[in-house]
Amino acid sequence: MNWVIQVLILQIVVTLGLELLMIGLYKFTSDNDT
């Protein structure tokens, strides 16, 4: 696998991971927020 595909996959995986973390945090705190 060439480095461009590797970077693309890593970028998508890390971005999704961070997004899921934020969404989890939102779900966890949404009782206080709404």
Binding site: W3, V4, Q11, L18
Partner: protein, 491 residues
């Protein structure tokens, strides 16, 4: 000239089509600036995702990759993975709940009219600086990808100014939203098409690039996890601090929120918006790293012009045109959003209160459109003379940092006007100090002025609000009043 013609035809075509379509739906100036709760989640997501995605994700990363390699992609990853969801899940819906029309009005609702007046007077100047920088970026893209056939000044700058104004003139926020949906596709599609074409053009594919860097001992250029101090302190920390605590105070970010049907239409786009925002940076960095692995390009040009040089040397005219459309989609959405935001705040928070109810709806609408033209001209004229705006960028962002930190404290924790004023004044003094006489004892990585401004504003915000009494945070008060209203209805 063919790439320039493709790009200009694209933006004029969609600008006029969507402008005419949205113009028919407008009833008043509020519609023009906010699209009055008309947009569903997809249009809100596209508009918001493209709003903070301008030169920072494209032209400046093309320049920075020359020193840091593909690890500059952390700019896109952290903006898309953290800032976009944080804004769409929390900041945007909170703003919607305040039931105001501009960010200065939101600040006024939390801390009173004096802070609103200060913010209304100063913030648009900072946003204008960002709009000027984006227009400089647009002009540079038109000049470079056009092969230098059109003079930079005044031709490229004037084209940039006209395209920016055309993006919003006829239909305002609604037109921008339609444009942003099409441009989100053009931005991602055009950029990736360039990456695929280049991979086919290289004799050994992209392996040529990694092999070349490995042979000269610079394999780190193709490693996303190359966390050098430059990457950590020049990309990763700045993108987090500046986006979450400074870009979030720009009114351009809140206009898609005003246009959203409801809070669900804001939150629903958090995941997809983050991915688009992150991936938008990818093609430009890959093309930049690839360009500098070709000795003839590396020897003749700087990092900033690397992608333009690669395109001009290797790509057919139609593909250069598509790349130009993709880059301009990112830059024009940001510059036009800034200009619409400035025109909105100046029209509604400065001029309209002077005339009050005497101003008719038709006059208000005419004023709004003229204000877009005037602000567009104010952003274009300095761009004719200025070439480097990075210092102004950081200055503008640093001015906004304490404003948004105090807004967050007032929304979430406690409202104390004295604490907010002390915080704003001291943080601004620190900003001046670091900008004009940075102390010699300051470590090199913290010389950028937003570091001390952030530290002082957070520190003072916590200490002063612990010491001084204040009212409950705004969100708690809104929740209490909503509960009281529901209780009343039940009774």
């Amino acid at each position: 000239m063919i790439p320039i013609l493709i790009a200009v035809a694209y933006f004029v075509f969609f600008g006029v089509i969507f402008g005419m379509q949205s113009r028919r739906q407008l009833t008043d100036s509020k519609d023009f600036f906010t699209a009055s709760n008309r947009l569903g989640w997809f249009a809100v997501m596209c508009s918001f995702t493209l709003a903070p995605l301008g030169g920072g994700h494209t032209t400046s990363l093309i320049e920075q990759q020359a020193a840091m390699g593909v690890s500059v992609l952390w700019w896109g990853i952290l903006a898309g993975g953290v800032y976009v969801p944080v804004f769409l899940l929390w900041f945007g819906p909170w703003f919607k709940r305040l039931k105001v029309d501009t960010f200065p009005q939101a600040l006024g609702k939390v801390f009173g009219p004096k802070i609103k007046i200060v913010n209304t007077s100063l913030a648009p100047a900072g946003w204008l600086g960002i709009a000027i920088a984006e227009i400089v970026g647009i002009s540079t893209v038109i000049y470079c990808l056009g092969g230098g056939k059109l003079p930079y000044t005044p031709h490229c700058v004037l084209i940039a100014g006209v395209l920016t104004v055309l993006y919003i003139l006829l239909g305002g926020m609604l037109q921008a939203a339609y444009m942003n949906v099409v441009n989100a596709v053009a931005l991602i599609g055009g950029g990736f098409l360039g990456v695929i074409y280049t991979g086919q053009w290289l004799p050994g594919g992209y392996a040529d690039v990694s092999n070349y860097y490995a042979s000269i001992g610079e394999a780190w250029r193709t490693n996303l996890f190359h966390f050098s101090p430059d990457v950590v302190f020049g990309v990763m920390i700045p993108v987090m601090l500046l986006h979450v605590f400074s870009v979030a105070s720009e009114h351009a970010m809140y206009q898609p929120m005003l246009a959203a049907e409801d809070e669900n239409a804001i939150r629903k786009g958090a995941m997809l918006g983050g991915i688009i925002n992150s991936l938008a940076a990818f093609p430009w960095v890959i093309l930049g790293v690839t360009a500098l692995s070709i000795p003839s390009i590396a020897a003749s040009t700087s990092g900033r012009l690397s992608v333009a040089e690669l395109a001009l040397q290797t790509m057919p005219d139609w593909l250069i045109g598509v790349l130009m459309v993709a880059l301009l989609s990112a830059l024009l959405s940001t510059s036009s959003g800034m200009i619409l935001a400035i025109a909105h705040v100046v029209t509604d928070d400065i001029i309209k209160p002077i005339f009050g109810e005497k101003m008719s709806k038709a006059a208000h609408m005419r004023l709004s459109r003229w204000m877009v033209v005037i602000v567009g001209a104010l952003a274009t004229l300095p761009a004719l003379k200025v070439s480097l705006m990075i210092a102004l960028f950081f200055w503008c962002f640093s001015l906004s940092l304490p404003i948004f930190i105090n807004y967050l404290i007032g929304m979430l924790w406690k409202v104390n006007r004295r604490a907010a004023w002390i915080n704003l004044i001291v943080s601004t003094i620190v900003n001046f100090w670091w900008t004009f006489a940075c102390p010699s004892w300051c470590p090199p990585m913290f010389r950028l002025n937003f570091y001390p401004v952030f530290a002082v504003s957070i520190g003072l915000g916590i200490i002063l609000n612990l010491i001084l009494p204040g009212e409950k945070g705004m969100l708690s008060r809104i929740k209490e009043s909503e509960t009281a209203v529901q209780g009343g209805v039940t009774l």
